[in-house]
Structures are given as structure tokens and as C-alpha cells.
């Protein structure tokens, strides 16, 4: 029995319909995925900046020093009991775990993949008679979809 196959026009129309359906679907997948990733990174950066600012308030004034750009990589931050934005031994029991690839592989890979770093821009102003203020810009940088992102916040710490 002879069977009629699909004509070229039918195939083109079918492909056009498929493309019309799939382009928004794939872009929806892509857009929503990127938004989720952006939101996750932004939340992490904002939370980290807040944590650093709290830690700066609590740490000795003279120990607040500049951490120049490009900054300190979070996944490779020094095992410093005094100041480590994630492993904060001195002021909080939270985050007492050091970020290592073996112990915290998920967080470690997240930090590595996005290249999260922190930098501190410290300006020390003395008004005399021990009246000093440090203006500290907390800079969190990371990579996102091929772009260098930055989140900035500022904190003033008085010596008094």
C-alpha cells in the first residue's frame, strides 16, 4: 500500500511551530535559571558583607586593616582565628567550620566556581586626642555569567 509521506511545507510548518514553542520555553529555562543564580549570589554577598561589618564592630580597632583588591578568596582565606569572614571563631559559634574541599565540598565548590572574594578599603581619620574613626568599605566581588560583580557597603568604626 502506498503511503503519503510528509511534504516539505508540512515539515517546515512543523519545525516553525516547534521553534516558536521551544524558543520561549528554553529562554524561560535560561532566564529563570540565571535569575536564581543571580539571586543566590547576591544574597550570599549581602549576607557576607553584613557578617563582616558585624565582625568589624566587634574586633579590636587597631586590628582593622586594609585587605586590598582583588581581595581575599573566601575558599582560600587564611586560617585566622582573629578575622575570617566565614570561620569566625572569636565572636560567634556559627561558621566554626573551616571551609575545605574535603569537609564542605558543596560550599567550597560554590565559592570556587563563582570566585567569591572580599576586600576591605579602610580610611583612618584622626580628630586628635584619641578620637579616631575608621571608614571601611566592604567589597564583595564574584564572577557571574562572565561578569565581574561587586557588592559594596560601608561601615564607620570609632576608636572610642
Amino acid at each position: 500500500m502506498m503511503r503519503r509521506g510528509l511534504s516539505l511545507s508540512e515539515i517546515i510548518i512543523a519545525l516553525a511551530i516547534a521553534v516558536m514553542v521551544m524558543v520561549p520555553v528554553t529562554s524561560m529555562f535560561s532566564t529563570s535559571g540565571q535569575q536564581v543564580q543571580k539571586s543566590r549570589n547576591f544574597s550570599f554577598a549581602a549576607g557576607l558583607a553584613r557578617r563582616i561589618s558585624q565582625h568589624l564592630m566587634a574586633m579590636p580597632f587597631e586590628n582593622i586593616v586594609e585587605v586590598p583588591l582583588p581581595g581575599q578568596a573566601l575558599h582560600d582565606s587564611p586560617d585566622d582565628v582573629f578575622f575570617n569572614p566565614i570561620v569566625n571563631f572569636s565572636t560567634s559559634q556559627s561558621g566554626v567550620k573551616k571551609i575545605t574541599a574535603s569537609d564542605m565540598p558543596a560550599l567550597y565548590d560554590f565559592l570556587v566556581q563563582n570566585d567569591f572574594k572580599y576586600a576591605l578599603s579602610v580610611s583612618n581619620v584622626s580628630f586628635g586626642a584619641g578620637d579616631e574613626i575608621k571608614s571601611i568599605s566592604i567589597l564583595i566581588t564574584w564572577k557571574e555569567a562572565g561578569r565581574n560583580m561587586i557588592y559594596r557597603t560601608h561601615v564607620y568604626v570609632s576608636s572610642v
Binding site: 511551530i17 528554553t26 578568596a73 575558599h75 558543596a106 565548590d109 565581574n148 557588592y151 560601608h154
Partner: protein, 529 residues
């Protein structure tokens, strides 16, 4: 005479054993000479010689017209009583369509093996008939399903629908049921293109010659005629197998599938030239060919049934399939995209040791350069001095910031503010205008300019900037400043309306216009907002 026939048979056999195109084989001229010598006894030759040898005799002879037709009819009549060999059918293809129609098709009318074989051979030779001819064939005799299939191959494809319409009108209302069924089954076969290849007719035991085999490879000698062997498995004679014409065509097809050894696949196209046949033992068993067809035929039939998908659904298969494919790819992509970073091993930092020259601010999505960050450090220090009203120190730091990054607008505005506080209103106004030209939406800049113009008693310019600031920020400070200015400028009604409007927006505050007079005039341009 017998010696002549034997001599011609020897020459014809030699011809058949030679490779190449028949008319160009070395023995062709010898055979032609022999055919001329046999011309006086042509009738005897046709009946006495083996069919293939007789056919070569006719091909090589010079008979024309009625004589040639008569000899051909005589030969075909004798040959069609049994299934002719493959070689015989190939040699028949040397005759023209007209000759075949005139001398072969009359046997198709006959019931019995000769009619079935003639129909099969005609289908094999791709003889086609006019639309009007079929009604006579169909009404001439009872037709077995195999014969009907072979007969349907004689229909020109382009005339199939016309033939079906023609036969629909021809079906006799009062005719025999057998004839009606014949026509209906034939129409069904033609309409649905059920037959693809000629099917071996069902003929009785002892009426078969070596079944047609696959075409031999070119260049190999043709096999000389052999005596017809009897098939290992006896076949029912056509006279005994009464065609079940009353049964639906599906039943007949099922019967065909169930009895595959009764039909056999034939090579689709006959070669144009007669190729030499592979010389193998006489009578390659028909059983093996029947068996091979038994394996092939039911498969295709069962596929026909199993894959009988409606056209509408088959048309949807491609778009639906593509959609499913894209969806699958999308799901796979998204699964990978959202996969746990844990699975992404051996990732490395993108940058190491060197700061990029530019970032994108995650809040404002504006570019932030390294120069801007360096200037921002001075700006932040200047802000600290500003908190202690140390305008000179602050101004120095703001200007340091601007020296690093002139585009730092906040430092620019602050430097203007410091100059205004330090009494340098002229330079402050210039700086503020520069800031507004860079960004007309900067808040407070219009207010500072208004104060500077007010201090210079330029009420028109002051009013313009007061209104611009109120329009821009629409806050209580700029509103009160505008209302007080209007009150002092003699526009009490407008000032009262504005106060009422502000009061409505800020019901928790008691808003009162400042008394007019010089005691309320700011000395240095006003407080820091």
C-alpha cells in the same frame, strides 16, 4: 527434420551460454542462419522445440505480421500451460508491448493454469491495459486472489482512480455475486495499491517449470532450458482451489500471508538486456525460494497491519516528536544548570592575583571602576570630616577624590557644598551647575543653588531652583523652603496652599511658615541636608 532441430537447439544453447547482449553475442548470427533454414517448418519448430529455444527461433527469424503473431500465439499457448522459466520471461521482454498484448493477453481470459500463468507473465513484463479492458477480463472468468493481484499490476498507476470509478459504474446490480465480488476485490486492490510485485500463480502439481529465479549477474551465461521439475511440496491446482471471491479481501490477504509458499517475490524490474544466467544446477529448488518468501511476505503483511496509523496522527508525529525532543533537551540542560555544585569538581578560580579594572555594581547594575573605588576612599574620609563640620579638610579630600576620578559626582557635589559653607558661593554655584549638567536628577543640588541665588538676591533664579528641587524630591524640606521663599517673595497665597498641601501629606507635623524678615535668612547658604 529432427537433426535440424537438434542442430538449432545446440546453436541456441551455445548462444544462451554466451555472455553479453543477445544480438551481439558471437553465436547470434549462426542462430539467425539456423532460424532462416528452419523457416519452412516454423510451425513444427515452435511446437517441437523447447520453449526457450523456440522463443529464440522466433526472435532470430524474420517473420512479420500475421505469420509472426500466429507463431507467437502458438508458442505462448504451449508455454503458458506451466510456469515458464526465468529465461523464457526475459526473452519475452524482447518482444514489443503490442506483440505481447496481441498474443499473450488472450490467454488471460482463460480459466485454469494458463490464464493464471499468462496473467502472472503479463504482470512480470509490465504490460499495461486500457481502462475499458478490465471489465471484460473480470467478467470472463472466476478470479483467484493471486490472479486479481497480478491483474491489478496491469493497471497504469495514473489511471487507477479512473478505473475504480469506471468499474463502480460497471458493477452489475443483477449480475452474479461472483462477478460483483471479483470487481469489488479488484477495485479494492487497485485503490489501495495492495500489489507491489507479481505473485506466483497457484497451479497444480506437475504444471510447473523451474520457477523464475533472481536475475543473473550480467556477463554470466544463460542457463539452457531444463525440464520442469516437480516442486517438493505439491501445490493445489487452480481448478481445485476455488477462488474465495465472496470472502472479504482481508481474508484473502490473510490467506496469502498464512500460505506464503503459494506466492513468491519476483525481482521488481526485468533487465533491459538479457543477462546471462548463473550456471547452477538444474532446477534450483523452488522450495528454497518459497521459503525465503515465506519469511518475507508475512512480515510485510503484519507490518501493514501493525503500522496502520491514521494519517492525521502520522502528521502530528514530527512536531510532537520535535517538541518532546526539545523539552527533553531543555530538561537536561536545566538539570545540569541547577545541578549541585558538588558535582562540579576540579573548578578553578577565574582570576588569581590581579584585580579586574571594572565591576558591575550588584545593586545599581552600573559599572564600577578601580579608579572610582580609589576616589571613593577619599570621599568616605571627607564625609567623616564633614560630620565634624571640618569643611576645609573635607574639601581637600573631596578634591583629592575628584583628582582621581572626575566622574565621582557625589564628591563633586560635596566639594561644592564645602565651598558654599566656606563662603565661596560663586565657585560653589559653578560646581553645582557642572554636577547638574552631568546628572540633572541629583538631589539637593538645586536647593543649594537656590540658596546661593537667594543670598545674592536673585529671587527669580532662586525660585526656579526651589521649584526644581521640590519637583525633583517632593520632600518636606524642599517644600518648606519653597513655601517660605514664596511667603517672603510676597506670594503668600501660593505659600499657604503649599503649606496646606504639605500638611495634608504630613499630618503628624505642625507646619508653620517662617516669619518674613532678615532674621530667618541663612547666613552661609543653609544647613547640610
Amino acid at each position: 527434420m529432427k537433426a535440424q532441430f537438434d542442430e538449432f537447439t545446440r546453436r541456441a544453447t551455445a548462444l544462451l551460454n554466451e555472455p553479453g547482449i543477445l544480438e551481439k553475442r558471437p553465436a547470434w548470427q549462426i542462430v539467425k542462419a539456423g532460424a532462416i533454414s528452419l523457416a519452412p517448418v516454423a510451425e513444427n519448430a515452435v511446437t517441437s522445440l523447447e520453449p526457450e529455444i523456440a522463443l529464440i527461433f522466433l526472435l532470430a527469424s524474420t517473420f512479420t505480421g500475421a505469420k509472426r503473431d500466429s507463431l507467437l500465439k502458438s508458442l505462448f499457448g504451449a508455454a503458458m500451460t506451466r510456469l515458464p522459466s526465468d529465461n523464457f520471461i526475459r526473452l519475452m521482454s524482447k518482444f514489443s508491448q503490442a506483440e505481447l498484448k496481441d498474443n499473450l493477453l488472450p490467454f488471460v481470459y482463460e480459466s485454469g493454469p494458463r490464464g493464471s500463468v499468462a496473467c502472472f507473465v503479463a504482470a512480470r513484463l509490465k504490460v499495461t491495459l486500457a481502462t475499458e479492458a478490465f471489465q471484460y477480463f473480470l467478467s470472463a472468468r472466476a478470479w483467484s486472489p493471486t490472479d486479481l493481484m497480478n491483474l491489478s499490476l496491469l493497471v497504469k498507476p495514473e489511471e487507477a482512480s479512473a478505473l475504480c470509478s469506471h468499474l463502480e459504474k460497471f458493477v452489475p446490480a443483477n449480475g452474479s455475486k461472483v462477478l460483483r465480488d471479483n470487481i469489488n476485490e479488484f477495485r479494492y486492490a487497485v485503490q489501495n495499491h495492495l500489489a507491489h510485485e507479481p505473485m506466483l500463480p497457484e497451479i497444480a502439481d506437475g504444471e510447473t517449470s523451474p520457477p523464475p529465479s533472481a536475475p543473473a549477474r550480467a556477463g554470466e551465461p544463460m542457463r539452457p532450458p531444463q525440464p520442469a521439475p516437480v516442486t517438493a511440496k505439491p501445490l493445489a491446482p487452480i481448478s481445485q482451489s476455488t477462488p474465495s471471491v465472496s470472502a472479504p479481501i482481508q481474508t484473502n490477504r490473510a490467506e496469502t500471508a498464512a500460505k506464503p509458499n503459494l506466492s513468491q517475490k519476483i525481482p521488481e524490474a526485468l533487465p533491459t538486456e538479457v543477462p546471462a544466467e548463473k550456471s547452477e544446477g538444474p532446477g534450483r529448488p523452488a522450495q528454497s525460494q518459497h521459503q525465503s518468501q515465506a519469511q518475507a511476505k508475512p512480515k510485510s503483511d503484519s507490518l501493514d497491519v501493525a503500522l496502520h496509523i491514521p494519517e492525521s496522527i502520522r502528521r502530528l508525529l514530527l512536531p510532537v516528536g520535535l517538541t518532546m525532543l526539545f523539552l527533553t533537551l531543555g530538561i537536561i540542560y536545566s538539570t545540569w544548570y541547577f545541578s549541585d555544585p558538588e558535582v562540579m569538581t576540579s573548578t578553578t578560580p577565574a582570576t588569581a592575583g590581579r584585580a579586574p579594572s571594572q565591576w558591575v555594581d550588584a545593586v545599581s547594575q552600573r559599572p564600577v571602576t578601580a579608579k572610582y573605588l580609589a576616589a571613593d576612599k577619599d570621599f568616605r574620609m571627607g564625609e567623616l570630616f564633614l560630620t565634624r563640620d571640618k569643611f576645609a579638610e573635607a574639601l581637600k579630600l573631596f578634591e583629592d577624590a575628584l583628582a582621581v576620578e572626575p566622574a565621582h559626582l557625589q564628591a563633586l557635589v560635596r566639594s561644592g557644598y564645602c565651598r558654599m559653607q566656606l563662603g565661596d558661593n560663586k565657585k560653589a554655584a559653578k560646581i553645582f551647575r557642572r554636577a547638574l549638567s552631568a546628572d540633572s536628577g541629583l538631589s539637593s543640588v538645586n536647593l543649594y543653588l537656590a540658596r546661593i541665588h537667594l543670598a545674592a538676591n536673585d529671587n527669580a533664579a532662586a525660585e526656579k531652583h526651589f521649584r526644581a528641587e521640590f519637583k525633583l524630591s517632593a520632600d518636606l524640606t524642599s517644600g518648606m523652603e519653597l513655601a517660605n521663599f514664596l511667603n517672603r517673595a510676597g506670594k503668600q497665597n501660593e505659600a499657604m496652599e503649599l503649606i496646606a498641601e504639605l500638611q495634608e501629606k504630613h499630618p503628624g507635623k505642625m507646619l508653620v511658615l517662617a516669619p518674613t524678615g532678615s532674621e530667618n535668612k541663612p547666613e552661609r547658604g543653609g544647613d547640610q541636608p
